[in-house]
Symmetry: C2
Amino acid sequence: MPKQVDHEERRRRIAEAVCALIDSQGLEGVTLRDVATRAEVSMGAVQRCFRTKDEMLRFALDHIGEQVTGRAHARLVAAPAQSAASAVGHVVGEVALLREERRAEARIWLAFLAAAAVNPSLAASLRSSYADLEGLLTRLVAEASGSVDARREARTVLALADGLTGHVLIGQRTSEEAEELLHAHLARLWEAG
Amino acid sequence: MPKQVDHEERRRRIAEAVCALIDSQGLEGVTLRDVATRAEVSMGAVQRCFRTKDEMLRFALDHIGEQVTGRAHARLVAAPAQSAASAVGHVVGEVALLREERRAEARIWLAFLAAAAVNPSLAASLRSSYADLEGLLTRLVAEASGSVDARREARTVLALADGLTGHVLIGQRTSEEAEELLHAHLARLWEAG
DNA sequence: CAGGTTCCGATGCGATTGCATCGGAACCCT
DNA sequence: AGGGTTCCGATGCAATCGCATCGGAACCTG
């Protein structure tokens, strides 16, 4: 066996370069050359890892999807909440990419969302992440309040979080306002359920 | 005075061509040549109307923004609602671009939203439209239910509508499901307020 | 250490992009 | 009718794009 390279590691490194570029210039600003430069590899290496640009973008989307959903799951395990209701609050706070340190992810997510609207294969990847989050939230909401339709509430909260993320990104809301709106929604949910 | 042309009319025609292209191929698929072809004018004419591509896109965004906000206002005047609450329902139903016939506008809106995340001047245009809608909804909510924080609820509903629109676009929700979620949220709002 | 295999950096290519240019058509006023 | 002005279609251009190609470096095996 000749020269071997950890392809997965390299793919991840490239995916992160893609995300960094999307964050600063949007999806349109992502070119193979810039990606290669940012990832500190040659264009040839990028082309070896991904046959086409589209394949590279799909991988990057899956990458960031796993990152977000993974963190949501981790948040649940790491810090046991005092109540199921506060667990929902924590997870939603992790999913809604409102705070400054998640701003980059938010931009990336939104860019992919818009692209997915005209690109079925990206849409499929996104749906998979959303389905994961919806499942997680549904279980938590059900546990926190048996008397409401958990799936409905989970879907509503997920959409609300997404909408607020967009509004924060364009400066229509501050992240504090958005977080307040999100928590107010949850508070009403508990008192109603 | 020599040859005169209705510039505004031409700009609008071009803006609609831009929107049609965004709907089918996303923002990245918009080129001056395609726009000219779609609008059935020459590239020269496009360049005369807009000095740069960016200026053209800004105009198109304002165009579709006025279209959406205008329809929201019109919905209010045209069909007097039986109650302020149902007026909110009507306006929100108009703003959330869920139904099939609004799918194109939804894609366009989302494309601009994502672009605005990395383009301040687009973000400014979007904020202007959002501010309009928020004001309209706030007034209606206040009228429908005095006991709630109208501005907060208007902002929440607006974000929820936006989030649901995105989810419908990628096929994560059907428009019927989204509409049901939206109306369920409003229903709880009235009974709580 | 030799042979064979894997990998990749550099380079080239055709297509496409946004924008600049300009000669002449179209038009109004006198 | 003719001069002056506005407009635009055609064309050119430099830059950039994604992708294909390939010679040699890198490396494991025997």
